[in-house]
């Protein structure tokens, strides 16, 4: 048998302290569709970025068609015939299909007359090869998402790609578009191209792939022929791990009902029919895949995208937050997902960051009292054990975990009754992570109702008193806190447990 098209051995990569990949083996043969499966954060994206030359591995070898490649850059990856089709196509929207394809494939000297006729013909030919009914003269802006993906695939073909990577290509496609895409993938396979296919949807993997490799915590758990494995076994491979962390124990008896949602929905953000209860002293975990609508739900509750149907009851009273200001006044706090973009303001001192949401309450009149602000900041710094030079240090001087604590402090300062945490430990090192877990548990003990959104499965399992699973914009199941990983993952993937 010929050498595989792509062979990865013992690939490892760390970002800062976080180990994204810790020894991954993977191979891909010509004329094969090889699916890559794993939870959020299992290392799929990092793996793809290494293969396309965007990241360099810390160690491990990459062999392409039997040749060891030492220094893979985006340019060499392109030259070696590696192409990646992302979920969001990276085309130039104001140029035509022909121009986009030409930009990818040709490297003309800047000043020379271009033979547009030949280019249009080539574009037409490539599009015909994948059975796409798209005019080469169409502006990319006018094309639908799947059509743009087809143009990407045409580019890849035109470049003579031997290895095509598809990263969740069906995430935004309708059933019919999906079938068209599958036909194209099968076409590629028949013509001897190797396809790495990344998807969360198990049914697609069974419909399309020849083999499947499961990644978990940056390691390859196993590679199987699709014909020899079933869904249950795949899910087991994705979640089967020992609890490496000790989670603080939960509260035995939650208190009064704090938040109740009745058939809540918002057409603009795709959330519909969510019904759930969260009690004082309870950590309600919200699990699901990326795009399942969890952050969108949080944004509704925080008044960022107000609900257009259903009811929100806070302590039994119906409320309708229409802005963050409303939400804060009602006692709802939201620690957002992306702390670098929406959380801690890096330029401002820690103390300013902590009091950002409470000017109106704590500082009577308009005059800021620095003494009071400093005291408050020092209190939070001690209380949450924020490691920092002092309340005057800028947010940028902190590590990720400590930034997250500052973001948390800002919201605790508003004295909320209901706290939404969106991925509170994403990109945080292990030590800070367990500190944040202890803080969450303590807050719950103090009577706060906590909604914990997390893609970190062990975290949801370990921290939650109950676990809600969202899928396709709605809450599908609520499981008890002692549910097992398999049940949660099955529900998130939409499989019968």
């Amino acid at each position: 048998m010929a050498a595989p098209l792509l062979e990865l051995r013992e690939l490892a990569k760390s970002f800062g302290g976080a180990r994204a990949l810790r020894g991954v083996d993977f191979d891909l043969h010509a004329g094969e569709v090889h699916a890559l499966l794993g939870e959020n954060g299992a290392g799929k994206s990092t793996l793809i970025k290494i293969v396309t030359g965007a990241h360099h591995p810390d160690r491990g070898t990459i062999r392409i068609a039997g040749e060891t490649v030492v220094h893979l850059t985006p340019a060499t990856a392109h030259a070696l015939g590696i192409a990646c089709i992302y979920q969001q196509p990276a085309l130039f929207p104001d140029l035509t299909v022909t121009e986009n394809i030409a930009l990818r494939l040709d490297s003309d000297p800047p000043v020379r007359r271009i033979n547009w006729k030949a280019r249009r013909e080539r574009a037409r030919g490539l599009l015909a090869r994948i059975g796409a009914d798209i005019s080469p003269e169409a502006e990319v802006r006018a094309l639908s998402m799947p059509e743009q993906q087809l143009v990407e695939i045409a580019c890849a073909l035109g470049a003579g790609a031997r290895i095509v990577i598809m990263d969740e290509p069906t995430a935004s496609l309708t059933q019919k578009e999906q079938e068209l895409l599958f036909a194209v993938v099968r076409e590629l396979r028949a013509s001897g191209v190797g396809v790495i296919y990344i998807s969360h949807r198990l049914e697609e993997i069974f419909a399309l792939a020849d083999r499947v490799t499961v990644l978990r915590d940056g390691e390859s758990v196993g590679t199987n022929a699709v014909s020899e494995i079933d869904e249950a076994a795949l899910i087991r491979m994705m979640v089967g791990r020992e609890m490496t962390q000790i989670y603080p124990p939960g509260e035995a008896s939650p208190g009064d009902l704090v938040l109740a949602l009745r058939n809540l929905g918002c057409a603009a953000s795709g959330v519909h029919g969510v019904t759930l209860d969260v009690r004082a002293g309870e950590v309600f975990g919200l699990a699901g895949l990326v795009g399942a609508g969890r952050t969108e739900l949080a944004r509704i509750l925080f008044g960022l995208t107000p609900a257009d149907c259903g009811e929100i009851l806070l302590n039994g009273r119906p409320v309708a937050p229409r802005s963050p200001l409303d939400a804060v006044a009602l006692g709802i706090a939201y620690v957002p997902e992306d702390r670098r973009r929406h959380g801690v303001v890096l330029e401002l001192p820690i103390a300013h960051n902590m009091t950002m949401a409470i000017h109106r309450q704590v500082f009577r009149g308009a005059w800021l009292r620095f003494g009071a602000e400093r005291l408050l900041a020092l209190e939070f710094i001690r209380d949450l054990a924020v490691k920092c030079p002092g309340p005057e240090a800028p947010g940028s001087s902190l590590s990720g975990g400590n930034q997250q604590k500052v973001s948390l402090a800002r919201w605790l300062a508003t004295k909320p009754r209901f706290l939404i945490l969106d991925e509170p430990t994403q990109g945080v090192d292990v030590g800070a992570k367990s500190e944040i877990h202890k803080i969450i548990r303590r807050l719950a003990k103090e009577g706060l109702a906590v909604l914990l959104i997390s893609s970190d499965l062990p975290e949801v399992l370990g921290m939650s008193d109950r676990i809600g699973i969202m899928r396709g914009g709605t809450l599908t199941v609520v499981l008890p806190g002692n549910a097992d990983a398999h049940a949660v993952m099955s529900a998130a993937l939409g499989q019968k447990p």
Binding site: R341, E347, L348, L368, S396
Partner: protein, 309 residues
């Protein structure tokens, strides 16, 4: 220390220029010419205060020069119509605030980029003024110049007004919640919004404030001469933005303060008289100012790159 490094380094540069002048051209420090120099810069300082807020808010206003001209002409015409002198500056401020509100609505309300909006505003106001006034000067009644005070008293009054504004605004930016909002909006509008601050409203008000201060500056400028020229404000925007940037206010928003802008303005304002006193040809003025601005921008970029690590 390191937190104010940028402001202190501008102050050090200013001190160095002043020391050099004290040694080589002590004539610079004669009280009367110095007071005249400072008085001429007083309106610029007022506009620079507003511009500092605008830039901290991660916006820019290049229409201040044209706004200044319009406010000057309006104030001049009112004074020439024998309005009571006490009402002329408020009228100028109101005119400026109105122009600022137009900018504010377009930028904050329609979320258009401030550079484009204020560029359009700059050109429109300038050409409109040319069309209406045909370049005609407004001759002012005698009682307008120096408020009818003696020249020295009038000069002190203007300098005092500008410094008072600087101090009050500087304290307000530090001690009022509103000041903190401006920093928060400029640093990260989305984080500010999530924290219950209304970034669009804040931005709008900053532009209104900028316009009002421009009007005040125009009135202060009018008090210094017997007539108003319709091009009084041309080039003002560049001078003011340069001073603010030299003073360490980051063009990317959220960082810097009024004290820095103040020292930056003094530094740039010293260059021209210093050249005269040192008998260097005045052609060098713009070149040296340009070099200082470039140096300031490079210093900022190096600093922020070091911080990202």
């Amino acid at each position: 220390m390191s937190r104010h490094f940028r402001e202190l380094s501008v102050a050090a540069a200013l001190a160095a220029v002043l020391v050099a002048l004290a040694i080589f051209a002590p004539a610079f420090f004669q009280p009367q010419p110095l007071l005249s120099l400072v008085t001429r810069e007083a309106p610029t300082l007022v506009v620079a205060c507003g511009m500092t807020l605008v830039i901290i808010c991660r916006q820019i206003d290049i229409s201040v020069g044209s706004q200044f001209s319009v406010c000057s002409v309006c104030a001049g015409l009112l004074a020439a119509m024998n309005w009571p002198l006490a009402l002329v500056p408020p009228a100028a401020i109101a005119t400026g605030a109105l122009l600022g509100a137009v900018n504010g609505v377009l930028i904050a309300g329609l979320r258009l980029p401030s550079i484009v909006v204020t560029l359009a505003m700059m050109v429109t106001l300038r050409q409109g003024l040319n069309m209406v006034r045909q370049g005609e000067f407004v001759n002012l009644p005698d009682r307008v110049q120096w408020f009818g005070l003696s020249q020295v008293d009038g000069q002190w009054a203007l300098v005092f007004t500008a410094l008072l504004l600087l101090v009050v605004l500087g304290l307000a930016m530090r001690h009022l919640a509103a000041g903190r909002f401006v920093y928060a909006i400029g640093s990260d509008a989305e984080a500010a919004r999530l924290s219950g601050i209304r970034p669009q409203l804040g931005t709008f008000l900053v532009f209104v404030f900028m316009g009002g201060l421009t009007g005040l500056a125009a009135a202060m400028n009018m008090m210094q001469s017997p007539q108003v020229q319709p091009l009084a404000g041309s080039g003002l925007e560049l001078k003011v933005i340069a001073a603010v940037v030299v003073g360490g206010v980051a063009i990317s928003g959220g960082r810097g303060n009024l004290w820095g802008a103040f020292t930056g303005l003094l530094l740039l304002a010293c260059i021209a008289p210093a050249l005269t006193h040192l008998h260097i040809e005045s052609y060098w003025e713009k070149a040296i100012q340009g070099a200082i601005i470039l140096l300031a921008v490079v210093a900022d970029s190096v600093r922020s790159r070091n911080e990202i690590r």
